[in-house]
Amino acid sequence: MILQWIVFILSALFAIFSALMMITRKNPIHSALFLIGNFLSVAVLYILLGRQFIAIAQVMIYAGAIMMLIIFTIMLISVEELKKVSLLKFGAGSVIGLVMTVLLFGFLASSVAVRTLPGLKGGFPLERIQELGPFKVIGGLLMTKYLLPFELASVVLLIGIIGAVILAKKER
């Protein structure tokens, strides 16, 4: 119990720290590495919530595939050119942005920081998931109840690949 709290507080603090470092670093490579740290700490939180499948997917898809693509693109677009210009613009616009962000966070926090949320409880408490097997039950849902969204996701990925190839092709 106390161990869970320690892990939660450490990973939450690291998630906030790495997100703040990500938006303030000048070098985009540093931003990308801090974002990987943020994704890994969110994966730790997923395991703490008892959702192992999505934690592994987070590490493989976000921290692995997407961030690899982003770092590859940053390397392709030379970092030196990006470093020369001032990447943070401080002015009236960013002050307004900060105020709007604080207001948005206040709104979101006031709507989620409640003891009880409305709605009915579902049929998968933690013991039942452990009994059925955490991966088996997700696979079962993806193949039965959510078969259409699952297939549509594959179509989305296919269209993404084709679109990327068409966009990146050199014009003749």
């Binding site: 938006i23 595939a65 677009i77 210009v85 616009g93 989305v156 990146a168």
Partner: protein
Amino acid sequence: MIPVSLYMLLGALLFSIGILGVLIRRDAIVIFMCIELMLSAVGLTLVSASRYYNGLDGVIVAFLGMTVAAAEAAIGLAIFVLLHRTYKGIKVDEINLLKG
């Protein structure tokens, strides 16, 4: 058990940090990374809601969101490479011509 509202507060905070990054940065790749951060924060909120409601629907929605994020990364980064060929360095406030 750790109250689920703490996870949701963390998700809201990460989402707000992502929006702040979108607003104050002018480098398109960092703005793109901030959007990924916001998507991940929404995933955290969905999964913590699935824990609260004892269901697995939130996990599946978060997983489908991840696939959309992967497709978006492929297309967005292709657009950045294309923009880099035209503009040499991608600052969003310098890209102001809406023609080919």
